[in-house]
Symmetry: D2
Subunit: 365 residues, 4 copies
C-alpha cells in the first residue's frame, strides 16, 4: 500500500529509482508566502552528493534540483512543491551480474519476496539514491523552520571504533563552533583530531575493500517549546520513525538514550529553574522533550548506521534458485556513508519538525 509519504500536514512524497530517468519529491502542505531559495536546497544536495570528497563514491551526479510547481515569483503559493533531480551518471550494466543474485545484507531478497519481481539496477527503489529526494524536500522544511527560528545541525560522532563525545546533557550546544570544524573536514566530525583518526580509519577500510558504520548526532537548537503531540505523535517517536526510514540506520536514541538506562532517577532528573524569567532545566537528560513535547531546551538525538553492505571483497550468497554463488564487489560505492548521511539526517529531522511546527498551531482554541 501507499507508503512513500512522510508527515501528516507537511507531507513529503518521494518517487524514483536509482537508475530511472529522474527522482523527485512532492512537498504538500508548505504554507504560502515562504520565500524559497533554490540555492539553499542545492547546498544541502551538494553536501549529500557523491564525488564531493576522496571518501565518497565517485559516481558523478550533479544533482541539480529543479522546482516545477508551487512557487510563484519566488514564494510558495500553498500548492504542492515538486522537486525533480535527473539521474545522470547511470551505468546500469554494472548491475547485470546481480540480476539473479541476492547481495548479502541488501534489500534484494526481501524486495523480490514481497513483490515477486525487482528492479535490480542499482538497488532500484531501495537505493540510497532516493535519499537525494529527501534532502531536497528537507531543504524546503529547513527554510520553513528558519521562519520560526529553528535550526538543525548534525555531526558524525562515531566511525567504527573512533568516537567523540558531545556534552549535550550538561552543557549548551556549540553549533557554530562545531559546524565550523565539521563542515571543514571530509568526515563531518566536530572534533578535528577525531576527524583525522576517522578519515584514516575509512581510508584503511577502503584499501581493504571493507566498510564502516558509525553514529550521527543531531541537535535542534534553538527549538521552541510545545512541539509534539501525545500519545502517538510524540516528537521523539516521529523523529525515530524518520531516522529509521534512512537506509542503513539501525538505531535511534534521544537525550540520555541507551546510556540513561543504567542511571538512577536521582541523577537523571532535569531540575527546573527560573533563568531570568524563562523556565529552563539545569541538565538536559530529557533531550529537550518531555511527555512527547518540546520544553524549549535543545533537542538532540543519535542515529546509528550499520557498515555499508557493499564490499569490494569476494562474498558468497545464493541466487534466485537457491544455488550458491560468489559475488565480487563492483560499481561505485562509499566505504562509509556517514559524512554524506549528515544532510540526510538533517533533512529527515527538518521534515518532522516542520510537520510539528504546523501541527502546534492547532493546540489551543
Amino acid at each position: 500500500m501507499a507508503s512513500n509519504s512522510i508527515g501528516q500536514v507537511f507531507r513529503v512524497t518521494t518517487f524514483g529509482e536509482s537508475h530511472g530517468p529522474v527522482i523527485g519529491a512532492v512537498v504538500d502542505g508548505c504554507p504560502a508566502g515562504l520565500p524559497l531559495s533554490v540555492e539553499a536546497i542545492q547546498q544541502d544536495l551538494n553536501r549529500r552528493r557523491p564525488g564531493q570528497s576522496a571518501l565518497t563514491s565517485p559516481r558523478n551526479e550533479a544533482d541539480r534540483v529543479q522546482i516545477v510547481s508551487g512557487i510563484f515569483e519566488g514564494r510558495t503559493t500553498g500548492a504542492p512543491i515538486a522537486l525533480l533531480l535527473a539521474n545522470e551518471d547511470i551505468r546500469s550494466a554494472d548491475y547485470n551480474h546481480l540480476q539473479n543474485t541476492y547481495r548479502p545484507s541488501h534489500a534484494d531478497y526481501t524486495y523480490e519476496t514481497k513483490y515477486g519481481l525487482r528492479d535490480h539496477r542499482g538497488g532500484g527503489r531501495s537505493s540510497a539514491r532516493a535519499t537525494a529526494a529527501l534532502v531536497a524536500a528537507g531543504g524546503v522544511a529547513k527554510q520553513l523552520l528558519a521562519t520560526a527560528d529553528i535550526r538543525i545541525a548534525a555531526f558524525v560522532t562515531q566511525v567504527g571504533s573512533e568516537s567523540v563525545s558531545l556534552p549535550l546533557a550538561t552543557d549548551p550546544p556549540q553549533l557554530d563552533a562545531w559546524l565550523a570544524v565539521s563542515e571543514a573536514n571530509a568526515i563531518r566530525c566536530p572534533d578535528a583530531e577525531a576527524a583525522d583518526r576517522m578519515i584514516a580509519l575509512v581510508e584503511e577500510a577502503r584499501s581493504a575493500g571493507d566498510t564502516l558504520g558509525g553514529i550521527i548526532t543531531a541537535v535542534i537548537d534553538p527549538c521552541p517549546p510545545a512541539l509534539g503531540e501525545p500519545l502517538f505523535g510524540k516528537l521523539q517517536a516521529d523523529l525515530a520513525h524518520a531516522m529509521l526510514c534512512i537506509n542503513a540506520v539501525h538505531g535511534f536514541d534521544y537525550g540520555s538514550g541507551f546510556a540513561g538506562a543504567s542511571r538512577y532517577g536521582s541523577e537523571h532528573n532535569d531540575v527546573f529553574f527560573n533563568d531570568q524569567g524563562t523556565i529552563r532545566t539545569r541538565t538536559n537528560y530529557s533531550g529537550g522533550i518531555q511527555g512527547g513535547i518540546t520544553n524549549g531546551m535543545p533537542v538532540y538525538f543519535r542515529v546509528a548506521f550499520k557498515p555499508v553492505a557493499t564490499l569490494m571483497q569476494v562474498q558468497t550468497s545464493v541466487d534466485r534458485e537457491g544455488e550458491p554463488v560468489t559475488l565480487e564487489g563492483r560499481g561505485r560505492h562509499d566505504p562509509c556513508v556517514l559524512p554524506r548521511a549528515v544532510p540526510i539526517v538533517e533533512a529527515a529531522a527538518a521534515i518532522v519538525l516542520a510537520d510539528h511546527l504546523l501541527r502546534s498551531r492547532m493546540a489551543r482554541i
Copy 2:
C-alpha cells in the same frame, strides 16, 4: 491535532486519563471472523497492572477489560472493537499539591505550555495509565497475529547496571526457555541469576527512594517474510515509532543496533544460504529486516527506558509563576517500570505487526 491513533489499516485509538472514570481503546480494522478470547487479553493486562508483585506500585487496579462492540458470538465482525477499563483505585487528592508545580522530568511543564491548562491529577493523559489501553488493544493484535503464526515476546535484559546478553545475532532465539524463566520472576528477566541481581538492585533503589531504568529486548519469532513497506513504512521505522510512544522510552535499535556502528562490513554482513530449500542467513545482524521488509529470520530489537521520574526523595523545582518550590515524593509509584513494561512493548509491537500483516496483502496483484 488528532494524534491518539496508531496504525494505518489496523488502527488503534486510545482515550482516557489516569484519574477519569474510564480509559479505553478502539481497534478499527481488525478483520472479521477472528475468534477473540477476552481472557487472553486479560492475561496481558494482568502482567501490566500494578500490585502484581512486591516490585510494583501498590495502586490497586483490577483492570478488568470489557469489550463493548465489534464482537458477535465470540468472533470479530469487522466493526470497531471498543475496549473499556474502569479506573478504580483513584486518589486524586494525592495530587492536589502538584496543581501548580512542574515535577522534574515529567510532562507537567510541557503539557501546560502547549495546551494552556492541564489535568494535574496523576499526570492526566500523560500518565502511564494510558498504556493499559494499549495493552488491551495489543491483545487483539496478538490474536490476529497468531492466525499467521507470528509470536512476540519481550524480556527485561537490563536494569540499571545489571544486564544479560541474548545471542540473537548469531543463534536462534529460545523463546520458550526464556519465557519459562522470565515470566517466573518478578523482573521478567530470562536469566534467573541476573534476575535475582536486578531484583536486589530495585529493592535497594526503592529503599533509597530512588528509581532505575533499563532495557527490554523483544523478539518476533516466527516472523514471516515480506512484512514492511518502503520507504516510509519500513517495519523498523514503525516499530521505532511505536516504542518511542511508550512512556519513559529513550531509545530503540534493532539487529546489531548501536553496537553495529562500530563493526566492519565484512564481519557484519549476513550471508544467505540454502537451508534445505529455505533461503536463510547464517548470522542475523540485520535483525530479520532488510530494506524495511522482513526476510523470514527472527526480528529483534531493544528498547531503552530512562529511570522513573517520580522519586520518593525531596527535589526542587519551580511552580507556574516560576517560583522555586520543594517537592516531596508521594503517591504510589514503581521504582522501576521495566517488568510492567514488558507487555506494553509486546502490545505496541503487536499493533505494528498486525498493521503490516494486513498491508502485506496488497503488495501484489
Copy 3:
C-alpha cells in the same frame, strides 16, 4: 481496514452496534481550552432520539451522553474526548426471525458477503443507531465552531412529493426565522404550511405501512472565508463525503447544484461587488464555495434521503441459502427519518467544518 474515523486533524472515531451495551465516539484533535457544555450536546441528541414525536419510532432511548475523558474543570484539555451512550431499550428478540434473511435495501446481504458473518440484531453496525454517536461528536464540533462565529442549521425541505423552496441563491438566509418555525413542528420544515402537508403525508404513509424519503437543506451562515483545501480537501468534497456517510443518503449538491447544470454561464456567474468594504457576490449560485474554498458568503447544500427500507408490509426476499422467504415488518421504525436526520446532517457538517477551521490555520507562514 480502519474506516470508522472522519476528519484529518479534528478526527471523530465512532464505535458500537445497535444492540450492544454502548455506542460511543472519540473526538481527537479538539483544541484545548474550549469550555464544553454537555447540555448543548444533549439537546442535539434529544433532537435525534426516537420517541420525540408521534412521527418517530417509539424505541425509547434516553440517549444520555457521558463524557469520560478530555475535559478538566469544564474545559477541553487537548486530550481525546470520549463520549458514551448506553443502549437502553434493546429488544434483540425482535430480530431473531431475520437471522438468515436479507432484508430488501438493507445492508444485511452486503455485510454478510463482505465479512462472512454479521450481527443481525437491529442491523448491528449498519444501524442508524450509530448516528447518535455522530451527533454527540458533532456537538463538540459545533461548540468549537461557535468560537469562530460559525453557525450550522438544517431544515427538512422535501418529504415525498411535498417540498418547499428556500431562495438561498438570491437572498440572505433567514436562519432565525426558519428555525423558529422548523424546530416548532414535528417534521422540522421551515414553512409551517408545508410542514402540515408533510406531516399529513407521513401519517398517511405510516398508516399504509409505507415509508417516505425527502431532502434536507443545510446552511452555514455566518461562514468565514478561506476554509477548504485544494485539490482533494475541497470543502464541498468533504461535505459530500460526510453526507453520503449518513444512512439512507443518496445524493448531495451545493449552491446551484443539479439545477445549475441546466443554466447558462451568463445567468449563473456570481458577480463580485464591494459591499461597504467587504467583497461579496450579488448572487450565490456558488453556494459560498469557489475553487473548494469558502468566500465568506453563506454555504448551503442539499442532502437527498431515500425512503426508509423497513416497511410494515409483507415483502419477499431470499435467505442465506438463496431460498425465497416472506418478510413481515416488525420492530419499531420510523416511516420517515427526515426530522431526526436534521441534527445528524448538522453534526456531520460541523465535524467537517471544525476540521477545516483548524486546517485553515496552516495556510500561511
Copy 4:
C-alpha cells in the same frame, strides 16, 4: 495542510499548475506485477485534452505522458509510479490583465484570501489543467481494475436543457452499445439524436460567448460485491468526495438519487431473488451499493457540472482593492466541459475503486 492526495492505500498525489513547466501525479500503492500500458493511459489523456473537437478549447496540448518510476520491464514494481506531462502551449501573457482582478465564479478571490498571494496565470493550481494528471493516474487505476474485471464508463446525459435518460434502476446497462455511440460523437452522449441537439446547443452558446453545464452519468459494470467500508469509507461517500473534487462539479447522487427522495419505500425497495445461483435484486434503485458496500449489481451515479465560468462576454467584478472593473473574455476556453470531463469522471471513479479493491482484501482473516 497537505491536501493534494486522494485514496488511502492506492494513493494519488498530483502537482503542477496550468502555466508551470510540468504537471504530474504520483501513484503510490499500486501492487507489483501489473503489466502497464502507457498507450492505454495516453488514450484517456487524448479524450481529455483540448483541441480534440470543434467543441473544445483550441489550446494545443499534446499531453504526452511520461512514466519516470515504478515500472520495470513493463510491469509495476510496487514502487511509486510518477507520471509527468509537460505544459506546452503556454501563453501566460493572456492572463496579465487578470493579475489584480477576481474573475466571477472562479477561485481567484478565494485563493488570494486563503493564501495571501496567487499564481494568476491560467488559474494556477485551480486550473482544470490539473485534471490531466488525475486522468493519467486514473489510467493506472483502470488497468488495475481490469485485472478484477471491473469496468467504468461515463456518458454525458445532460447539457443545458437537453437530456437523455438511462434506465439504470430497472434495466441492465448497455455499456458497449452506449459507448459505441457516445465515443463517436463530439459531446459523448450515448443517444445519437440527443447528441446532435446537445452539440447544437453548445455551438449556439459559443456563438453567444456563453457557456453551458450539464450532467455526466457513470456506470461501473461489472462490479464485484464487497467493495466499500462502513462507516466513513462507504463507497458512495468516497465516490462523492472524488467527484466533488473535480472542477465545476456541484452535485453527486447515486442509484435513485435525488429522484428517490420523492418515492415511497414500497416502490423503491430492491427485492432480492435467486438468479440461477446468484443473489441479485430485481430493481437497482440502490445503485449497486447497500450499507456502503457493493452488492454485485451495477453501480451508477450522476455528476452535475455548473456552466463554465469563463465567458466571452463583458462582465463586471472588483479588483484587489475592491474597485469595480470590467472584464472581457480572452484566452482559449471551452463553452462546455462535459465531453472532456467524461474521462476525468472515469479516472476519479477508477482511483476510488482501485483503493477499495485493495482495501477489500483486508475484510476477513
